[in-house]
């Protein structure tokens, strides 16, 4: 049912846009051993040929400042190199951050409040001119301009002076908290400790932009490439893009990208049914085609699993994302923890998963953090509902809460036919709660309306379906915006929908942010998640599984748990 994605999938929360815009995502298997494996046609990958990318959503934004990506995106990452980047490897290995333009992933100092990077030698743009640290600073600065909005909020939140800076067009002198002592060195000064800075430095905002070539809002038409490909055509509002080899890119300075094909054709604006049909038929150029934004739908999956040849051409990926029921305790009866717990017990995750496409496309979860070690996944099930929900326990709790005669509540959802929050999921919840004597009235809102309401402090409904995804494979960006009491926004988009403002939680978040050892931090995030889970502020429902079909000539399929999808920089067609 995902064909309507064009209108339905939208920037409901960070993660969706990640999928949409960058085609990138992070992932992590349920168990470390269960990771996605590389695949594709036989034989060693070779250079040459044309790769076709068939996508639904056009690459509407291509300016590095405007892209909201996780780890630099998929197609953007072919053109923009960043300070760091994600490791292009299968499974959990692919959740590691590695140096890209920089020689290392950054040197922290001052309690991880200052991050210093040294650039590699011999870095060049597509026109042969050298890449300097000033260009990276300029690239970061221009993302503050109103004309080029769209990126992740962390630059504004973290950099000293970031919250008031208006970009280089209005404030020519630049941002003082970014220093470039020489052409190879760049230093970022942050307001507070951020151990995750290297992960964030993989975003396209950290791609170099030569000031002389900056055309502002028009830059996306002819961006200056630092990566293995350059843009030769960007037409139809990002629907048709043609990328060709950038002769000035040197493999020596770039250990991550392979860039096997000579040419990459991106064709978007297709419906998902057509994309999957074309990939499975694989006639003509479609034999060497992949998609970066389209899953196999349930119907297609049912068909593919019965066909050995096709089944071999399916890549499985995991991305750190959770769909959940969100409570707003400011609205009765959700102020009563017993009611929230009752609903947690009553939920039938089997029907919810079936409504989301079945067990091959969604995995039921009881934790808010997705099932990925790097994010800090720590199993817990505070309100065991089993596979089918525990209606008896739920009724009991309701009785205790004074609702022995049943309860009538409203569940708000988007009418968009998207995977995460679709009406089908809502009706599955409705059907399950009915068993527990809870009458659910569905309030389906047009997607813009839904989006605005659930993120508005004033209008936020009492119970709604939401989802949250990882901006990078770490617990920080997953938990902090949703549960940090200082991130409650009363006059803008509020993501702390449970309005949790617990000093202990806030302090723990600050403490973990100081840790620069990722594994150590992950453990603490997991423990925090478990702790918050006791309050039943959300009912985690499921994590997505990506099933991606690729053309029969496609080789060297690499799917990392960072993005969950085939990495175009690794794919070969010869």
């Amino acid at each position: 049912m995902r064909h309507m994605s064009v209108i339905s999938r939208r920037v409901a929360a960070a993660a969706v846009s990640v999928v949409l815009v960058g085609g990138a995502a992070a992932a992590c298997g349920p168990k470390e051993g269960d990771d996605a494996k590389g695949g594709g046609a036989e034989g060693a990958p070779q250079k040459g040929g044309t790769l076709t990318v068939l996508n639904r959503a056009p690459q509407k934004q291509f300016d590095p400042a405007r892209l909201y990506t996780s780890g630099g995106g998929n197609i953007p990452s072919l053109v923009y190199r960043t300070l760091t980047t994600r490791h292009r490897a299968n499974g959990a290995e692919g959740t590691k951050v590695v140096p890209d333009l920089a020689a290392d992933t950054g040197t922290p100092s001052d309690d991880a409040k200052t991050w210093t990077y040294k650039l590699k030698d011999g870095l060049k743009y597509e026109d042969g001119s050298p890449i300097t640290s000033a260009d990276i600073k300029y690239g970061v600065e221009r993302s503050f301009a109103a004309e080029l909005s769209g990126g992740a909020p962390y630059l504004r939140d973290w950099l000293i002076g970031g919250d008031t800076y208006q970009g280089p067009y209005k404030e020519k002198k630049g941002l003082d908290s970014i220093e470039t002592p020489d052409e190879k060195t760049i230093v970022f000064k942050l307001k507070k400790s951020e151990g995750d800075f290297p992960y964030f430095a993989a975003s396209t905002q950290f791609a170099p932009v030569p000031k002389a070539k900056d055309t502002g809002a028009k830059y996306a038409e002819h961006p200056v490439s630092s990566g293995p490909y350059k843009v030769v055509k960007n037409a139809g509002d990002g629907e048709q893009m043609t990328l060709e080899r950038n002769p000035n890119w040197s493999e020596e300075t770039d250990k991550e990208r392979h860039a096997y094909p000579d040419r990459i054709e991106v064709k978007s604006g297709l419906s998902s049914a057509v994309i999957n049909q074309r990939l499975s038929t694989g006639s003509g150029p479609d034999a060497a085609a992949v998609t970066t934004d389209t899953n196999l739908g349930p119907a297609e999956l049912a068909q593919v699993t019965g066909d050995k040849n096709l089944a071999a051409r399916v890549g499985t990926g995991h991305f750190g994302q959770t769909s959940y029921l969100a409570f707003n305790p400011a609205v009765k009866p959700f102020d009563d923890p017993k009611v929230r717990q009752a609903i947690s017990y009553a939920i039938n995750r089997t029907s919810v998963v079936n409504a989301a496409g079945g067990s091959s496309l969604a995995e039921p979860t009881t934790t808010f953090l997705p099932r990925q070690k790097p994010l800090g996944y720590t199993p817990y099930d505070h309100f065991p509902a089993g596979a089918k929900g525990d209606a008896a326990k739920a009724k009991e709790l309701l009785k205790e809460a004074g609702h022995e005669n049943g309860l009538e509540i409203t569940l708000t959802h988007s009418t968009a036919q998207n995977f995460e929050t679709s009406p089908e999921v809502a009706t599955a919840v409705q059907a399950a709660l009915k068993e527990a004597g809870i009458t659910v009235k569905l309030e389906g809102l047009e997607d813009n309306d839904y989006d605005e309401k659930i993120h508005s402090f004033e209008k936020q409904p009492g119970l709604f379906i939401a989802h949250w995804g990882a901006d990078w494979p770490s617990g920080g960006p997953f938990l902090a915006p949703v549960f940090d009491g200082r991130q409650i926004v009363k006059d803008g988009a509020n993501f702390n929908t449970a309005r949790l403002d617990d000093p202990k939680v806030n302090d723990e978040i600050d403490a973990i942010n100081k840790i620069t050892d990722h594994d150590a931090a992950a453990q603490r995030w997991g423990a925090l998640d478990r702790k918050i889970g006791e309050q039943a502020l959300t009912v985690p429902l499921f994590n997505p599984v990506y099933k991606r079909l690729f053309g029969k000539d496609v080789k060297n399929v690499v799917i990392s748990n960072w993005t969950g999808v085939l990495d175009v920089s690794q794919v070969a067609v010869k």
Binding site: A299, G358, A431
Partner: protein, 334 residues
């Protein structure tokens, strides 16, 4: 003038053929195909009305999930042959959710028929009103209304529908809203037809005679024009009805259709598209219902038109063609 005219006028247009010569009814009855079509439509309406009863007989709830009936690992495709047909589920179950298809189909008939008939009624109401007003009014009124028609035709349905859904309170029944939205935008053809027909009717003497009675224009329109407009309007409505059902489906597909879990054929179709191969029953059932309904409306529309127009019977007969009663003067004199 239109609103008042419409509210009072519409029932007459609808009942006109029935109150007309009994020959109309007799001619209609003599057309087996029309009768069959009427029977099919009657059956559909009956199914829709009796949906709760039928659900009770089958023992299924339209919104109950059946997790055990679908293969979760294979995208939720129903277990068993032909989409999981069984004694409990006469037409199988919906993939993914396992909801009973038979019950959803009969409940869906309610929404689809309501939307189609409602939208067509709105189209007739507005189309006849605007068409009549454009034909009867002066140049200014005519050009104004023609332009209004153009504006409405050019207004994109999606934009309009989204705006309308947002403005109208959420409690407002969605099928009614859909009918209004479709009806409000797609009446251009009807208005054109009515205007053209009215202009040619106005040339007929019985309209002049009616004017001489001293009655108001409104009265003339109601008593003389509307009954005569019934035939073309009914014929055109028969074309509009199935189009409106398809329109409902398209709006569901675009995410502005009925609200879940309410079933409608259009919504079922819009979610069924990809199941062509994995579960053909799921696509075929609503598609078949849609086709049968379209066919029935078309055949019935043809029948009614033929019955209202006695010329149809003698159409191709030489020498009995349209004999104009112009100056066939009995001018002989001895």
């Amino acid at each position: 003038m239109t609103t008042e005219l419409l509210t009072t006028a519409e029932p007459e247009a609808g009942t006109a053929p029935a109150s007309g010569p009994p020959q109309v009814w007799r001619r209609l009855r003599a057309r087996k195909s029309a009768l069959a079509a009427a029977a099919v439509l009657g059956l559909l309406v009956l199914l829709a009305l009796a949906a709760p009863l039928l659900a009770a007989i089958e023992g299924q709830d339209p919104n109950a999930y059946h997790d055990t009936l679908v293969d979760s690992a294979r995208g939720g495709v129903p277990f068993g042959d032909f989409g999981g047909i069984s004694a409990e589920h006469w037409l199988g179950v919906e993939p993914g959710t396992g909801r009973d298809l038979f019950v959803r189909l009969v409940y869906g008939a309610r929404v689809s028929l309501l939307v189609a008939v409602g939208a067509t009624a709105v189209q007739i109401l507005i189309g006849v009103g605007i068409g009549l007003a454009a034909a009867l009014g002066n140049r200014l009124v005519e050009s104004l209304l023609t332009h209004v028609t153009d504006v409405m035709v050019a207004m994109p349905l999606l934009v309009f529908a989204i705006a309308l859904m947002a403005v109208v309170p959420a409690d407002f029944p969605r099928p009614v809203l859909l009918a209004i939205a479709i009806g409000l935008l797609q009446w251009g053809g009807m208005a054109r037809l009515v205007r053209a027909q009215t202009l040619s009717l106005m040339k007929l003497d019985f309209v002049s005679a009616a004017r001489l009675t001293g009655g108001s224009t409104r009265r003339v329109a109601r008593r003389e024009l509307l009954p005569s407009l019934a035939a073309p309007v009914i014929t055109y409505a028969a074309v509009l009805l199935p189009t409106n059902i398809v329109m409902e489906a398209s709006m569901s597909f675009l995410g502005v259709g009925v609200k879940p879990p309410t079933p409608s054929w259009g919504h079922m179709l819009s979610t069924a598209t990809t199941w062509f191969r994995a579960d053909p029953m799921y696509v075929l059932l609503p598609a078949l219902m849609l086709f049968v309904t379209t066919l029935a409306f078309t055949v019935l529309g043809d029948g009614v038109r033929a019955a209202l127009d006695p010329r149809e019977a003698s159409r191709l007969r030489v020498g009995r063609g349209r004999r104009k009663a112009r100056t066939s003067g009995a001018g002989g004199a001895a």
